[in-house]
């Protein structure tokens, strides 16, 4: 329906209420007023619809973004998860473990992060619930301290033994003896060469 048709329809619709036949000339003005008013209302309606659509669009775009901002991201969850190992899936860090048990653990990490727990608080909670073996890095308490102390200690002791052994070997080796033995050998060779040459002359 065109704009012209719409105006005509509105005129027909409101004409009986305006008593145009009796009023004569004033009827045209009234008609013009009605058309102008309804056009203005239509513009307002259009504007309202456009505003409504824009609002809906904005909400659709921003709500997921807002929801993402509220909760912890996967990266934040995995940052904690990779420091933990589920006892069910040995040698698989929690952040890459595909089992349902590990998925539940990751969901727990997410819940705790949402509740505002720190990384350390979450790790402590998991240790309390499932024991120290869930930690990727053993704690420094109790016998676990050996895990931290022994490797560097063994390395140091090994290096010490190696250094002492090398020193002992180099001390035992008679350094000038090689030169002393090589010289006579060269002399003998030269003498033999001279001898052979003399024979052929």
């Amino acid at each position: 329906m065109t704009e012209k048709q719409l105006s005509a329809d509105r005129e027909t619709l409101f004409a009986p209420q305006l008593n145009c036949g009796a009023a004569g000339g004033s009827c045209t003005a009234a008609r013009t007023f009605v058309i102008a008013t309804t056009n203005y209302n239509l513009d307002l309606l259009r504007l309202a619809v456009a505003f409504l659509l824009l609002t809906v669009y904005c909400l659709l775009v921003t709500i997921p973004a807002l929801a993402q901002d509220d909760g912890p991201t996967d990266d934040e969850v995995n940052a904690v998860a990779k420091q933990l190992y589920c006892p069910v899936c040995e040698n698989t860090p929690l952040d890459v473990c595909p089992t349902q048990a590990c998925a539940q653990w990751r969901a727990t990490i997410r819940e705790k992060l949402e509740a505002g727990w720190t990384e350390q608080q979450i790790k402590d909670y998991f240790v309390e619930q499932y024991g120290e073996r869930v930690l990727a890095q053993p704690s420094t308490r109790g016998l676990n301290i050996l895990v931290w102390i022994l490797p560097p200690l063994v390395f140091l002791v090994g290096a010490l033994f190696l250094a002492r052994y090398l020193r002992a070997v180099s001390a035992r080796r008679p350094a000038p003896a090689k030169a002393a033995t090589s010289e006579p050998a060269e002399d003998d060779l030269a003498a033999q060469l001279e001898k052979e040459l003399a024979k052929r002359r």
């Binding site: 589920c86 006892p87 069910v88 089992t99 349902q100 048990a101 539940q104 653990w105 969901a107 727990t108 819940e111 240790v127 309390e128 619930q129 499932y130 024991g131 073996r133 022994l150 002791v157």
Partner: protein, 189 residues
């Protein structure tokens, strides 16, 4: 001046002290090495051991999801069925109704069923209990201490303990009401 007062040539050199120190150091190093080897051997040995299957049942205290504390010691005189389960375990789901039916059938005959929730999250565990309508006491295996003392290898596993606290049967994998009844009936006579 007598010979005793004269310092002997050997006394001037502190060799015995040095060699003693060296010897003590060597002994300490060997002792540490030996202790480490023993520790490793014990751990390896423990790993090779299966579930506990005879003798006295390992003692434990279970704190249920409702906050009730139940120690195995306090249940002496009753037959105790300890079931290890987890909400992520599919075979556990199969046996859950069977265990509940068994509990209802025997709870008035001096049989106690205890559910130990192994490596699980509380939310899922509670949902699991609700889903299967479990009414016998259940609680988390805090620090996996109970499962370690029973040396379980997975879930579900069920241990039957007689009135004297002796382990009678270890069931690996899912069980049924009938299987448990066969084991428990002779213990009630």
């Amino acid at each position: 001046m007598t010979n005793e007062t004269l310092p002997s040539p050997q006394a001037a050199v502190p060799e015995p002290t040095v060699s003693l120190q060296r010897r003590l150091g060597q002994i300490a190093a060997w002792a540490i090495l030996f202790a480490l080897l023993v520790m490793i051997a014990v751990q390896l040995y423990r790993r090779t051991l299966g579930q506990v299957s005879s003798g006295s049942a390992p003692g434990f205290t279970l704190t249920t999801f409702d906050g009730q504390e139940i120690s195995l010691e306090s249940l002496r005189g009753q037959v105790v069925v300890v079931n290890f389960w987890a909400s992520w375990c599919k075979p556990c789901e199969k046996e859950a109704p069977e265990l509940e039916a068994f509990y209802r059938a025997y709870k008035d005959r001096g049989v106690v069923v205890l559910g130990v929730d192994y490596v699980d999250t509380e939310t899922e565990a509670r949902a699991y209990l609700k889903k299967f309508g479990i009414t016998y006491p259940n609680g988390p295996d805090l620090g996996t201490r109970i499962s370690q003392s029973f040396r379980i290898k997975g879930v579900p596993e069920t241990f039957v303990i007689d009135r004297n606290g002796q382990l009678v049967k270890t069931i690996i994998g899912e069980t049924t009401q009938d299987k448990l009844a066969v084991i428990v009936e002779p213990l009630l006579k």
